[in-house]
Every structure is written in C-alpha cells, then in structure tokens.
C-alpha cells in the first residue's frame, strides 16, 4: 500500500520532468539525424514556461475546463497504472481522457480543429484494438488484470507475448502522433490543417496540452516496461533498456517516414494488430 502511494506521488511529480526531458532528447536526436545542431535539451520546458506567460486568447472558456479534465484523467490513468491497479480500467480511463481532448477541440467550432478532432477519433479507432489485445494477453499469460501481479510474475510477459508487444509498439506511434501517423496534429512545422487538433489552443491551453502529453508518454513507456518486468528486481533495469530502445525506434520512424492517409493508417494498424497480436493470442489460447 505504502509503496503504491509513493509511486503515485513520484509519478505525479516526476512524470512532467521525465516527459519534458524525453521530448528534449527527442528533438535533439531528430536534429542530429537531420545533421542539425538542434535546440537545447531543456527547450520543451522553455516553451511551456513561455506559453504560461502569454496573453490568454481563447474562443470559449469551456476549452480550458475540458483541457484540465483531459489533464486530470491522464494523471489518473498514470497514477492507477503506477499504483498497480487494474490495467483494463487504466485503458478505459485513458480513452475517457482522449474524449475530453476531442471535446476541447470541437468546442471551438473552428474547421481546422474540428477536422483534427475527427482525425483524432480515427486514430483512436486505429489503436484501441491493439490496446485491448495487450490487456487480454496479460490476462492469459499472468492470470490477472492487476498490474502489481503482472509485474511480479515469474517470467517476463514479453516471452509469451512477442506479437502483442510488437503490435503495441506499432500503435504507440499512432498514440504519440509520430510521423507516419501524425495526422490529427503534427510536431513538425505545419500541415494542411494548420495545427489540427491544437489549432485553437494558444498560450496557457497549449501548455496544458503539452504537459498532458508528457504525462501520457511516460505512462505509455510504463506499459512498454510492464512487458519486461518480472519478480526479479534486476528486470527493471532491462525494462528501462527496452524502453530506451523503443523510444529511439519511435524517433527513427518519425524521421524516416512521410505522413500516411488516414484510411491507410486504419487498414495497416488493424492488419498489424490482427496478424501479430491476434495470432499470438490465438496460439496462447491453444496452448493453455
């Protein structure tokens, strides 16, 4: 009990720092891949600090409220995850958080952010099956949805769930809005719908969005780590190692691929989920 409280507090306090640093490293490595010097490591923090100081112009006051709800639900998701509770419940709260983001951008009735929001929904449809498959996979392998039991299983889940793991890494690219799938909003320059889902977010609201993204990234990396950890404490080190590799892979994919059409993305992600995760779970069911 006490351990879980400590890890929740650690998550709430440290996740923004870790998430910001991850983004800073991301931008630095991306720049190096493009043979640029790149911004300083702490650039994401400078950006957020500046956004909080700017004049607040918002189309509706409801947007701030909805974005705050998005932040709160995301923090709740991560807290539940690091407290070791039910993984299925975590994923449902995560979807609720995403819905608040959807409303925050449609409430402005700007055409750009509305298109961005509808694309965000398509992205949700694309990644949701793989997320559920991952939960089912954990249940089949470890006999429980409880995260603390999954984390203290005798062998790492990844050995029984290689296909599910691969599918999850694939959909994380969609979830993080990295390059082939940055269709609802883009981190690089601008796209055909201005800034998509964040078009109407300026100043404080954009800062809220960014901080929530940091919380989300840390949570997603936590799920990646959950595939690796077992009851041996040394497994946490290898989990960290796997997380670093996966994040580097995301950056590499981000820098080497062009944006996809949304329909293609839907087809591809469902095909990958069905083939990799589906067959993995099917075999597990046959064996057990």
């Amino acid at each position: 009990m006490r351990n879980s409280i400590i890890s929740v507090i650690a998550y709430i306090l440290l996740a923004p720092i870790a998430g910001g640093l991850l983004e800073g490293i991301d931008r630095k490595i991306s720049a190096r891949m493009q043979r640029r010097v790149g911004p300083p490591l702490l650039q994401p923090f400078y950006d957020v600090a500046k956004l909080f100081k700017k004049q607040v112009i918002s189309v509706t006051n409801a947007q701030t409220f909805l974005l705050l709800s998005y932040l709160v639900f995301m923090v709740l998701t991560g807290s539940m995850f690091f407290a070791g509770s039910d993984i299925l419940l975590c994923m449902f709260v995560l979807s609720t958080a995403a819905m608040f983001l959807y409303f925050a951008s449609t409430v402005t009735s700007s055409p750009y952010s509305t298109i961005g929001a509808s694309r965000e929904l398509i992205q949700m449809i694309a990644y949701e099956p793989a997320v559920l498959m991952a939960c089912v996979g954990f249940y089949l392998v470890d006999g429980s949805f409880e995260i603390h039991e999954i984390a203290s299983s005798p062998v790492s889940s990844i050995f029984n769930l290689p296909g599910v793991f691969a599918a999850f890494v694939f959909i994380i690219t969609i979830k993080m809005r990295k390059s082939p799938f940055d269709i609802s909003t883009s981190h690089h320059a601008h796209q055909e719908i201005v800034k998509g889902i964040t078009s109407e977010m300026g100043a404080r609201n954009l800062a809220l969005f960014t901080v929530t993204e940091w919380y989300e990234n840390v949570f997603l990396m936590g799920v990646i780590g959950l595939f690796v950890v077992n009851k041996n404490p040394y497994s946490y080190i290898s989990a960290l190692f796997v997380v670093v590799i996966v994040y580097f892979l995301e950056i590499l994919i981000d820098n080497t691929s062009a944006r996809m059409k949304q329909r293609e993305m839907l087809k591809l992600s469902w095909a990958v989920t069905l083939v990799l995760a589906g067959s993995n779970i099917w075999i597990l069911m046959l064996i057990k």
Binding site: R27, A31, Q34, R35, R36, V37, G38, P39, P40, Q43, F45, Y46, D47, A49, K50, K53, K54, Q55, V56, I57, A189, H190, Q191, V194, K195, T198, S199, E200, M201, G202, A203, L206
Partner: protein
C-alpha cells in the same frame, strides 16, 4: 533561466512577393542555418505564434488578412518585415494594387532589407526581434495590471452607484427604441420606394 526569449515561435506570412524571400525564410530552417538552435519553430498557427515574419508587399486583397493574423496573435508579439517588398513595397511599389510595405496595415518592429534578404540577415532580424520580445513581456505585464485595475474600479464604481447607473441606461434604452422605431419606419419607406421603382 526560463526567459521567454528562449522560445520564439514564428508565423510566416507571404504577402505579395516574388517568392524569393519565402525560399530564404525556409532556408533558415535547413541544416545549413538551423534556426531551431535558438528555439525558433516555424508554426502555422497565429494563436501560438510570437513573431510575425512578413515577406512581400501589402495589396488591397491581403491587407485585411495580415491585420487579422496580427490581431489573432496573443501578446507579447513582434513583427518582422523581411525583404524590400515587405519594408516598402519594393519592386512592386508602383503596381496599381499595392498599398506599400507591411507597415501600411500593422506596426512593424524590425525591418530586414535585401532582395532577396539573405538567411543570415533574416536570422539576425529574428534574433533582434527576440530581444524585443523579452521587452514586450514587461509592457504586457503592465497592460495586464492596468487592465485588471480598470476592471476592478469599473466594478466597484458600478456597485457604489447602482441607481444612478440605471437611469441613464434606461434613457439610452428609450432613445435606442425610438431610434430603432425611426429606422424601421425609414426602412418601411425604403421598401415602399423600392416597390414603386419595381412598378
């Protein structure tokens, strides 16, 4: 340490230009010049921008657009005119539709000369704009303080004299209703005349 000048986000608007300067603005972001070193991001969204980079002159069609982009940017903000066209109208100055440089519609802070402006000059302009951006924050803080004070005094004044405040409001309301009645009758006359004309 967390000064706002460390993260200037640029909005680039291409007015009535020959596209020479726009190519040079984009060249600033390429690996050779790498403007992102200074935290500069080329954003397409006025709501998120701090520095407005204008290339090309102002014509009668894009004047309202430029004005709106400027108004949509949250304070503190800086405007930087890149290239001779944006400074004065340049080679297009004598065209029938050109109003002149960017400063014909919005206040311009930094002028970057050149045809086309070189990337080095553009980055120099942005760096100057960034220093100004830091100063603008102080002005913005003052503005916020004044604005809040004024709102407070307005509210307290309204709370002190509720009856007096109501009377003129009632009068104006009456006056308005009279006005609107007159207008309506005028409109009715207008319609009648229109009908007559049709006949």
């Amino acid at each position: 340490m967390f000064e706002i000048k460390r993260s200037p986000w640029v909005l680039h608007y291409d007015g009535s230009s020959c596209n020479g300067c726009d190519i040079e603005v984009l060249a600033c972001l390429t690996p050779v010049y790498d403007a992102e070193r200074f935290g500069i991001i080329n954003t397409g969204d006025p709501m998120q921008a701090d520095i407005l980079l204008i290339t090309g002159g102002i014509n009668s069609q894009n004047a309202p657009v430029v004005k709106q982009l400027y108004d949509q940017m949250p304070r503190p903000k800086v405007v930087c005119a890149v290239g001779v066209c944006a400074c004065t109208g340049g080679i297009f100055k004598d065209c029938y539709n050109i109003l002149g440089g960017a400063d014909t519609v919005i206040p311009v802070d930094i002028y970057v000369p050149g045809c086309a402006a070189r990337p080095q000059a553009i980055i120099d302009g942005i760096v100057k704009a960034v220093d100004l951006f830091e100063k603008r924050l102080e002005e913005h803080k003052q503005w916020v303080a004044e604005h809040e004070n004024r709102e407070k005094t307005d509210k307290s004044a309204a709370a002190k004299q509720p009856q007096k405040a109501q009377q003129p409001a009632g009068e104006t309301a009456k006056a308005q209703s009279q006005n609107s009645a007159q207008r309506r009758s005028k409109n009715a006359k207008g319609r009648k005349t229109a009908k007559r004309r049709k006949k």
